[in-house]
């Protein structure tokens, strides 16, 4: 089988298209394999952008059609929180402080289950009642 025929075969759409697909799929899975520790982390700040220490961050996981609480984390001295081993691809984040300030619920959608993600800062505000 000469090189020319091989090239022609590869060029043929019935070969080329599936090959391309396979390549994409493999690449994607490799990428997943390296980024699926289920780490979800980020900062909690107040309106001024200053980090909020000791704030509770609640993760709500989507269950069927509504969201229910899954895990909680508390921000450290740098206002940084971190969930690990989050086996989900869709949920919501909300930060609460002991003095009753809350952040808006942040919708979180990932490209694959337990994708490592860096969430943009959650801003806590005093809820107007």
């Amino acid at each position: 089988m000469s090189r020319a025929t091989i090239r022609r075969a590869l060029g043929h759409r019935f070969v080329a298209v599936p090959l391309a697909l396979i390549v994409v799929v493999v690449a994607w899975n490799v990428y997943i394999a390296f980024n699926d520790h289920g780490i979800i982390e980020g900062e909690v700040t107040d309106r001024t952008g200053a980090p909020v220490i000791g704030a509770t961050v609640v993760f709500f996981e989507r269950n069927f059609i509504y969201y229910e609480e899954k895990q909680r984390a508390v921000t450290d001295a740098k206002g940084h929180y971190r969930f690990s081993d989050m086996k989900t691809h869709i949920g919501q984040l909300e930060a609460r402080t002991d003095d009753g300030r809350k952040s808006a619920r942040r919708q979180l959608r990932l490209w694959f289950r337990s994708q490592d993600t860096e969430v943009a800062p959650l801003v806590v505000e005093t809820p107007r009642s």
Binding site: F64, I65, I90, W111, F112, R113
Partner: protein, 274 residues
């Protein structure tokens, strides 16, 4: 006006065809658009362009059902159906080119077989399949599609189109009937093959009720069943359903687009001559 080759007045025809194509494409566009929009697809008025388009609905689909597994099942079933139907239809088609007593009857029989609604034959068909002991297997799902009447006639037609002299010559050279088919007739009826492949693909890839009845174990489900199962979980309330619809349709469209030239030529020969 209607058909005058080389007539200068092209644009009205273009106008009509563009309008038609537009109408034909609307459903595609609408479902794709929906599959890309966010949570509330019931917001009035619906937008022509998707609101903050994203692909996460497709992610949801992927995790809502074992998509890969279903895809595999569908693929295997379809592959079996295609292979089997090719073999059987070619054989039958060739046999029908022969002259033998009762040939007409068999043709009539086959034609009337086309008129029996499959949905109405499910129970006996199911019993027969269980009697054959192939329930809940790929073959069990593929079996009813292993032979398709239309394709038989398409092959018959394209075989008849082959000059008899060729066949006789081969026969004189002492080629076996099977060889005559594989070496001489098949190479000359590529389009018929393409037609058979695509039609069988369409039918087996899309069949819904039959696998629904014959398949019981979750890991044997095919994509259309996924659709049913999917509906049952999410109901028709999110873009995810439509994302799934798109995912289900893509393979069929892809195959068709890749093989359409042969396919249409095959249908052509089949339709006119047989």
């Amino acid at each position: 006006m209607r058909r005058a080759p080389g007539s200068p007045r092209h644009w009205p025809r273009h106008a009509i065809m563009i309008a038609v194509s537009f109408l034909m494409l609307i459903p595609f566009y609408w479902v794709i658009k929906t599959s890309l929009t966010g949570e509330n697809i019931y917001a009035w008025p619906p937008r022509i362009l998707p609101v903050d388009p994203h692909l996460f609905n497709y992610v949801d689909v992927w995790y809502l059902i074992p998509f890969g597994r279903y895809l595999l099942n569908s693929t295997i079933v379809t592959a079996m159906a295609i292979a089997g139907s090719l073999l059987f239809n070619v054989a039958a088609g060739y046999a029908l080119t022969k002259h033998f007593p009762g040939r007409r009857w068999i043709v009539v029989l086959l034609l009337s077989c086309m008129l029996i609604p499959f949905q109405a034959t499910i129970i006996p068909a199911y019993l027969i399949t269980s009697w054959l002991g192939v329930l809940d297997t790929w073959l069990g799902v593929a079996l009813p599609l292993l032979s398709t009447i239309i394709c038989i006639f398409i092959f018959k037609a394209s075989f008849e189109a082959v000059p008899p002299s060729l066949i006789d010559a081969a026969r004189v050279d002492g080629l076996s009937e099977w060889r005559i088919v594989t070496r001489i007739l098949l190479p000359l009826s590529k389009s018929a093959i393409a037609t058979n492949v695509i039609l069988t693909f369409i039918w087996s890839w899309n069949s819904f009720l039959w696998p629904l009845i014959t398949i019981r174990s979750p890991e044997m489900q095919t994509l259309p069943l996924g659709l049913a199962r999917f509906l049952s979980v999410m109901e028709d309330t999110t873009g995810a359903l439509f994302a799934f619809v798109v995912l289900v349709l893509i393979p069929g469209l892809a195959i068709f687009l890749m093989a359409q030239k042969e396919f249409i030529r095959g249908l052509t020969s089949g339709a006119t001559k047989g």
